[in-house]
Symmetry: D2
Subunit: 348 residues, 4 copies
Amino acid sequence: MILFDSDYTEGAHPSILKLLSETNMEQTCGYGEDEYCEKAARRLKELCAAPDADVHFITGGTQTNLTLITAALRPHQGVISADTGHIAVHESGAIEASGHKVLTLPDDSGKISAQQILRFCEDHYRDETREHMVQPGLVYLSQPTELGTLYSARELADIRSVCDRFGLFLYIDGARCGYGLAAEGADFTLPLLAELCDAFYIGGTKVGALFGEALLILHPALKKDFRYILKQRVGRLAKGRILGLQFLALFSDDTYFRISRHADQLACRLRDALTVCGCPFLIRSDTNQQFPVLPDSVLEKLRQKYGFSYWQRTDETHSAVRFCTSWATREEDVDMLIRDITALLKEA
Amino acid sequence: MILFDSDYTEGAHPSILKLLSETNMEQTCGYGEDEYCEKAARRLKELCAAPDADVHFITGGTQTNLTLITAALRPHQGVISADTGHIAVHESGAIEASGHKVLTLPDDSGKISAQQILRFCEDHYRDETREHMVQPGLVYLSQPTELGTLYSARELADIRSVCDRFGLFLYIDGARCGYGLAAEGADFTLPLLAELCDAFYIGGTKVGALFGEALLILHPALKKDFRYILKQRVGRLAKGRILGLQFLALFSDDTYFRISRHADQLACRLRDALTVCGCPFLIRSDTNQQFPVLPDSVLEKLRQKYGFSYWQRTDETHSAVRFCTSWATREEDVDMLIRDITALLKEA
Amino acid sequence: MILFDSDYTEGAHPSILKLLSETNMEQTCGYGEDEYCEKAARRLKELCAAPDADVHFITGGTQTNLTLITAALRPHQGVISADTGHIAVHESGAIEASGHKVLTLPDDSGKISAQQILRFCEDHYRDETREHMVQPGLVYLSQPTELGTLYSARELADIRSVCDRFGLFLYIDGARCGYGLAAEGADFTLPLLAELCDAFYIGGTKVGALFGEALLILHPALKKDFRYILKQRVGRLAKGRILGLQFLALFSDDTYFRISRHADQLACRLRDALTVCGCPFLIRSDTNQQFPVLPDSVLEKLRQKYGFSYWQRTDETHSAVRFCTSWATREEDVDMLIRDITALLKEA
Amino acid sequence: MILFDSDYTEGAHPSILKLLSETNMEQTCGYGEDEYCEKAARRLKELCAAPDADVHFITGGTQTNLTLITAALRPHQGVISADTGHIAVHESGAIEASGHKVLTLPDDSGKISAQQILRFCEDHYRDETREHMVQPGLVYLSQPTELGTLYSARELADIRSVCDRFGLFLYIDGARCGYGLAAEGADFTLPLLAELCDAFYIGGTKVGALFGEALLILHPALKKDFRYILKQRVGRLAKGRILGLQFLALFSDDTYFRISRHADQLACRLRDALTVCGCPFLIRSDTNQQFPVLPDSVLEKLRQKYGFSYWQRTDETHSAVRFCTSWATREEDVDMLIRDITALLKEA
């Protein structure tokens, strides 16, 4: 079986294990206050052109989302998200468990627009019973989205404007940040994220790390006492240096960007090859997730050899599925997959 | 100005004030453990043919919903509700503040169906990633709904069946219970609610009380330690007898049913008169809330003399509004309202 | 049986029922935005010499404490309280249920001192692992305390200084505020509370109202969006005017102060008479709660005729109990109680 | 500098890094449902003689405590803990943030007794106002305690009896479980923990892992849907196998027990050597944490060469400090430390 189920089917990029081994017997203090974390933080701030950012290394994406959102909202506030947003769907109600409603807007290919957010906020503040409703306090975006799509620099700037108008924080979930930055045609950059967002994170778990995310906080109000909240929301690691070391490895020698590019290129190769065969896609993606629509009969046969995620039924005989690539995906496996699908489609 | 904004624009039914005055100097113990609460509880259990029910008198509807739902759910569970449900819209996120997601289904005239709930649960349990999602734990219905509509006995029984199949509690918000029971054509009864529900409440605030709701708990698992949780969720009143006394007054001499009928009849008189004039309604209601669709020009003039709630725009020149009647509504005011609207419609 | 169990054994001061009856058929808007609430708020602001205060009328004390504390704290913060504080003992964990730890300090006759708070905060900020601990965010005091004692103006000012030094909010629970203001020798005033506190409430439930408390918010940061949070924490009443009307009645003709004085005087009469008989007290109180230490044999006999609260065992044959007086306590009942205890003590 | 600050100053036991490297390129499914986790779970169940236990591998101790306690308690319940318990002191209010009060009992050398728990529960259920208080729902013990002490098998069995009597869950935090099992004179075993507890965890983070704990759930009510709650409380790792692999490594070739013994022996060597010099200890410990009481002048000099934790002042010129050993502690470092302290004590 060859797995394309997710971008976390293997361990870690070898440079990470190497660095962990080399430093293994060194003694450091705990909870991310060691020199490796400091060094990794410095490197990320440089890359983001954000010398004043606070950087926190956190064990996982759900923790990062939960902790930042909790730190940002007052009790009566909620977070605006696409209805396909990770926090709205796949975190078992972690946001609600921390007391806040996720205010979902219908997505367009995984994205929401400045216009939608504007209308939602206008409606809220115009409503005479608004004090009986949840007040929007923060906008959550995923870049790339859960459907592999990307916000353009322009779209992000427009959303920032609406946030400014209604006093909303802007936070970006960059679980797959690398795959977005490396995508062909992407026009956003790390410094742009640092300029527009109040906070965002650069994902490790899905981009080559054993685990771990790097959160950058730009807004001063969110910086204050964040480590208290992070401990409370169980995002701090005793041997915190393990997180710093992983980001040091990923952000040495262009590794993070190189492995992201690798994954994107293989994903797009799959996309382009299937498109040639006439296979439609649920959505146009330039990143490491691809959502072809295939006949159920083809899928059944494919499943004997490959792992992938069922996404949704599109008509009585077809379904959309998801294939993920990653730093660990082998070119020959993608080529074999293409050959197999192409052949099955011909048969079908 | 004559207000039709809500069913709580006046004080309390006079029989309540009378009873409060008569008993004012008596000494009783607190927190609802006095003899008046006991007597009122006994009467409600008789009316509901539910001798084993636990009855709790609670200060308001949001408290009642919040406390019952909190007591019923485990941390990973959410509550299924129509997207128009009170808990989903107008409780400022009280359910989320207690840690639980409201799992909304699109409403049909304020109602959700057994079929929708079935499909939602099937989808949940079929999903391989369900442990990353909120598990449905309870179904919340309003009877009558926020749009004045009613579930039939059959619809309720069907929903109960789905609840049984998926281990869901069934809870009914009866804030306007009286107006439902008194409605022409309504085929549900208090004993039926007691038979089908795990818990439900009989509303006082919107049906003649100063404030207060009577919660009946049928399911043993929900009875255990409920008063602890009620205190924690601030629903217990120090001078608890005030709640018992109000329900005693309301459920003497058929008062609760009589005043509900009064309100329904006046609401339907308004409905029928406007219908004759060709005025459409957002929704067909037999209860004390009516939602006529009127020209904006008519509404502008009406507003100078009457209070009512704006509901929603229906086209460029028309809007739906809400008129509420109650125990306190005067026949002559409704007749005047009818005459005024009729005249304005003719002019328009 | 004559009950001295609590200060809420009867209904409401008659002037309240009278005002409710007189205004019963008037129509007003809901949720405390009516003219009666506005008028009552104005009166309280005048009495407190706090023209810029926000006044909210809330259904009960636990709601008031919970909502204010929730609105004031960030997620990692806790509230400092005496270990005898109402929020620490008798609210079923309502503060914890809203996510915050109660940081208790050992009480001295129900009170904590500026010195204790200072030491606690210094210890916290000196501790290298403080980010793994709950940060103090607010000081909660009861005035009078749960043991009937009072903070002097000087003690309150000292506590305010410590709060300023560590960025703590100061909040006072005035459930029995009237009994404190009316106490002989009390040197604090409503304007002083308004000057020193960030928020405090003037209790109604225990001082003659059917129910309800008046919260005054002084600090701008706590004012913002408070009504959203109040709705969420279920402290808003649909027929909100009932709360405003009660405070209007209580604060007309000096009623609130007069009935508080009445209660204090009867309580002190009991205290002084028992002291003459050589009966010790758990604590010296000038307010409406008295805690005599009596032989268990005496208590057993007293219980056949009077209700009162068991407090704690003081030695093998004696226990402290609590007697409460209120606006409704009759002089002749206190005199009879004194005679009975005196006689029983002689026998014993 | 040689650090004795904690048991997590180095990376991981080399066998762990080796196993991670060997399996790095294998593809597995995520979230702990892979074969390595399954294999590790099987091994732990064997060692605990608990074939029906559910085993969950969780990223850290605070997560494990938080999630288990959250899963076990109803909203009105709290957790009984020593006032020195980790959840009471050093988790930044994580338990309160999940809505539950920590009901602290005064510790005796880090431990609480069956007798104390019994008295606490009796007092609770005897109190007439108990519904206004937090109900005890679970007993939390640390074995070894935060002070390095151990409960005997007898003490644990007695506590279990009290739990049975009052319907309390019994949960043991085994963050340093290994050091307890390996301690001289310890008379508890893994099978005994499995027999007496409703749940307990075997710590990895502090006993040689990069991070991670193994939770064993014995009580059926706690097993149900635990993974939903674990995801919600952010304790699930995407690349879950990393946790399984670490426990496989630790529980191969007796590693876990061997390295624990190593740490205990070095800690006791330190203890015995200092005792010979007449140095008193805050507490008698047979595990890897030692709390000598030393002159402040000695500590000042020691600090230039060694890291250790300041614990508490014991008199005007002495303080207790903590030294930790671990799998990574070198014999020669301990010997040097002993020589240095001995010399400094002689000088002093």
